[in-house]
């Protein structure tokens, strides 16, 4: 009874050294987050507030998005609306073509990944350069990210060293992270200076002021928007917050949850276009408005893409981002994938032991684990329930509804203990992959009670 996730995860974890490193490194990020959160006595209060601000904002999107557009436009920004990924890509292309852009730099945006923007633009002859170090490494390797905040977490320094040796001409055998980062700085500095347009995502969009807020550490988003004259900011519509004051809550939660820093190096507020430049904002739907109609899953729209759920998830840490079939992995990815297309991404539902650590670590209190449980109940309705699980559940139901049968099964169970090993542990017995079977007791509790042996 395997899923695409379980098959891929089995391969990942079979490489014990890699899996252990991935697991421990991400746990350390969780530990850094814990330390930071314990320094803030009002941490749980902030989480409650953040959740409530998001629930309010996402249930008043009509008003808030229009307020945002009005203020942004008054500030001189050009606001576009994209109903889906296709339209988003076309709007971006349109802006770039209008300004004859050949060299385009972008900072990290999960929305751009969602819309598959890069291959679309590259096919149209535009050079698209990822400027976040992790994303640039992956772009040069031509592989996708495996984590939404630490995209290259699965790549070792030696691999980066070899890559840069080939693509950037760095010293052979030098895999020192500082040396490699300096090489990337030089290489990307060139790109910043010569680009004609840049793109950023948006961590937050403030309705009352029309600001786009971008939180970064590397300075790549700000370098990108400081040299080229055209800035395109793209935002999923659930990024809207009502006012500046609410940012006080979110900026205190975001970096602490994501990387264990008190705040990102840069929290940039883009309000007006630069002198002689243009500032475009694209508001994207792409299925988000439909999520509003699913009260069981509406809290996924609270997500501020911090990645804390991935860092804490014991399954993600041991299976890696590539084991998931949706482009965003981990607990939030499982849920977003199901909302995007349940029939396409249901394989990821197996990637969860329902431990609920994710729900407890989430700064905006998305009920991640609880939603996964609910999604599992939907599987049979959409014809995607695992046949083996269905048979097993039906079998258990049959047995458990019939106490006489259950009791005789209990009576029979010690027999299982003495079955020859090769029967007990054949390849169908998934339990046996690494564990001995428990021994069934000679007398069940039911029997002992009936024989008056429980005193």
């Amino acid at each position: 009874m395997s899923t695409k996730h379980s098959i891929a995860a089995a391969k990942f974890v079979a490489n014990k050294k890699q899996a252990a490193w991935h697991n421990e490194t991400l746990w350390m990020v969780r530990a850094k987050r814990d330390k930071m959160s314990k320094d803030i006595p009002e941490w749980e209060q902030l989480r409650d507030l953040a959740c409530n601000i998001k629930l309010y904002s996402n249930s008043h999107l009509e008003e808030l998005l229009q307020e945002f557009e009005k203020n942004a436009t008054a500030n001189g920004a050009i606001v576009h609306w994209a109903k889906d990924a296709k339209e988003h890509n076309e709007i971006v292309l349109g802006i770039l073509r209008d300004h004859d852009v050949k060299h385009f730099v972008k900072s990290k945006s999960m929305l751009a990944e969602e819309c598959e923007l890069n291959p679309f633009l590259i096919e149209k002859g535009i050079e698209v350069v990822e400027t976040d170090l992790g994303e640039r490494i992956l772009q040069l390797m031509d592989v996708p990210p495996s984590h939404i905040v630490l995209p290259a977490i699965h790549i070792k320094r030696e691999q980066v060293g070899e890559l840069f040796e080939e693509k950037l001409g760095t010293e052979k055998g030098n895999s020192d992270p500082t040396y490699l980062t300096r090489a990337a700085r030089k290489h990307l500095r060139d790109k910043f200076l010569n680009a004609e347009a840049s793109m950023t995502g948006a961590n937050f969009a403030v309705a009352s002021t029309g600001d786009i807020v971008v939180c970064t550490n590397e300075g790549n988003a700000d370098m990108g928007t400081s040299c080229p004259k055209i800035h395109i900011a793209i935002m999923g519509m659930e990024k809207i917050v009502p006012d500046q004051e609410s940012l006080g809550v979110f900026t205190r939660l975001l970096a602490r949850s994501a990387t264990g820093q008190p705040v990102t190096s840069y929290t940039s507020h883009y309000r007006k276009p630069r002198e002689g430049g243009e500032f475009h904002i694209i508001i994207v739907d792409n299925g988000r408005s439909k999520i509003l109609g699913q009260p069981d899953h509406i809290k996924t729209l609270n997500c501020i893409r911090c990645g804390a759920c991935m860092n804490t998830c014991p399954v993600y840490r041991r299976s890696g981002g590539y084991s998931y079939t949706y482009f965003i992995p981990g607990p939030i990815g499982i849920n977003l994938g199901m909302l995007y297309s349940a029939t396409e991404y249901f394989d990821n539902l197996s990637a969860c032991s329902l431990c609920l650590s994710c729900s407890h670590v989430c700064p905006v209190k998305v009920d991640l684990g609880e939603q996964i449980y609910r999604w599992r109940q939907e599987m049979d309705k959409i014809g995607k329930a695992s046949k083996e699980k269905k048979v097993m559940s039906a079998g258990m139901k049959f047995l458990m509804e019939r106490p006489i049968l259950f009791n005789s099964a209990l009576w029979m169970s010690p027999v299982v203990n003495v079955l020859p090993r090769f029967i007990k542990y054949n390849f169908l017995n998934e339990w046996g992959k690494g564990r001995e079977l428990p021994e069934f007791a000679k007398e069940s509790f039911n029997e002992m009670w009936k024989k008056n042996k429980v005193k």
Partner: protein, 246 residues
């Protein structure tokens, strides 16, 4: 107060001694305990696998079996949490009001919060490492969850500190999942086993001789790993420690 003893299916079949210890412990505290016959299952394995509907009849049966008791007490945080959190919703689909969810307790929770003994007749001169199971921590609040910024507390530790001679430890990843997860254990066996191995290693590193907790399901999974790899640690349900002299 009339207490109905809830014995989960796998305790019935595999660890009946935990049931016996639970009975003895509650009796020793002067409580009126009864075991309504022919209990089978609370429905959690089916529901976690995605077949909540299969648990409907079981939930009804459960509610009827225990309807005349003031409290339902069972030695399994996971099963108790399932009844508490999910039976009402399952039964509501048939407009049946669930009476169990409001009065069901894990035995540790019950003794700690309701009975509140100041001493126990218990002696266990061994080093034990507390296994804080996920549903125990995050659904029944048996201890503070490591994710949250709340003052530390642990009901299991409080109860163990009434036991003579016991030395209490907790693993470094204090409430990370052991990897059992019900159907998860066989749907993603490689990850499940890896999680189990890591968890057992963490417990061994405390120097403890026993892993103890409120969930036999977790203990059963870790026991499976321990036996396969012949590791130097044993498992024991906390109730067996608390009833050790009875």
């Amino acid at each position: 107060m009339k207490i109905g003893l809830f014995i989960p299916c796998y305790i019935n079949a595999i660890y009946p001694q935990v049931g016996v210890a639970s009975y003895r412990l509650l009796k020793s505290l002067g409580l009126e305990v009864d075991y309504p016959l022919d209990q089978t299952c609370c429905g959690q394995p089916m529901a976690n696998g995605g077949f909540e509907g299969e648990a409907l009849q079981l939930a009804k049966r459960f509610d009827n079996l225990f309807k005349d008791y003031d409290y339902i007490v069972g030695p399994s945080a996971s099963c108790v949490a399932f009844v508490k959190e999910n039976h009402a919703g399952i039964l509501a689909k048939e407009h049946h009001e669930c009476t169990s969810s409001g009065k069901i307790y894990d035995i540790c929770e019950f003794i700690h919060d309701v009975v509140k003994p100041t001493k126990l007749n218990a002696k266990f001169p061994h080093k034990v490492s507390i296994h804080n199971s996920c549903h125990g921590v995050r659904e029944l609040y048996l201890s503070s969850s490591s994710e949250m910024n709340v003052p530390y507390y642990s009901k299991l530790r409080d109860l163990l500190s009434l036991v003579e001679g016991v030395e209490i430890f907790e693993p470094s990843h204090v409430d990370e999942c052991c990897g059992f997860g019900g159907m998860f254990a066989i749907e993603e066996p490689e990850i499940s086993v890896c999680m189990g191995q890591d968890k057992v290693k963490d417990h061994i590193e405390t120097g403890a001789e026993y892993i103890t907790g409120a969930d036999s399901s977790c203990l059963m999974h870790m026991e499976g790993v321990i036996k396969r790899e012949k590791l130097p640690i044993k498992t024991i349900h906390i109730v067996e420690i608390l009833a050790s002299q009875l």
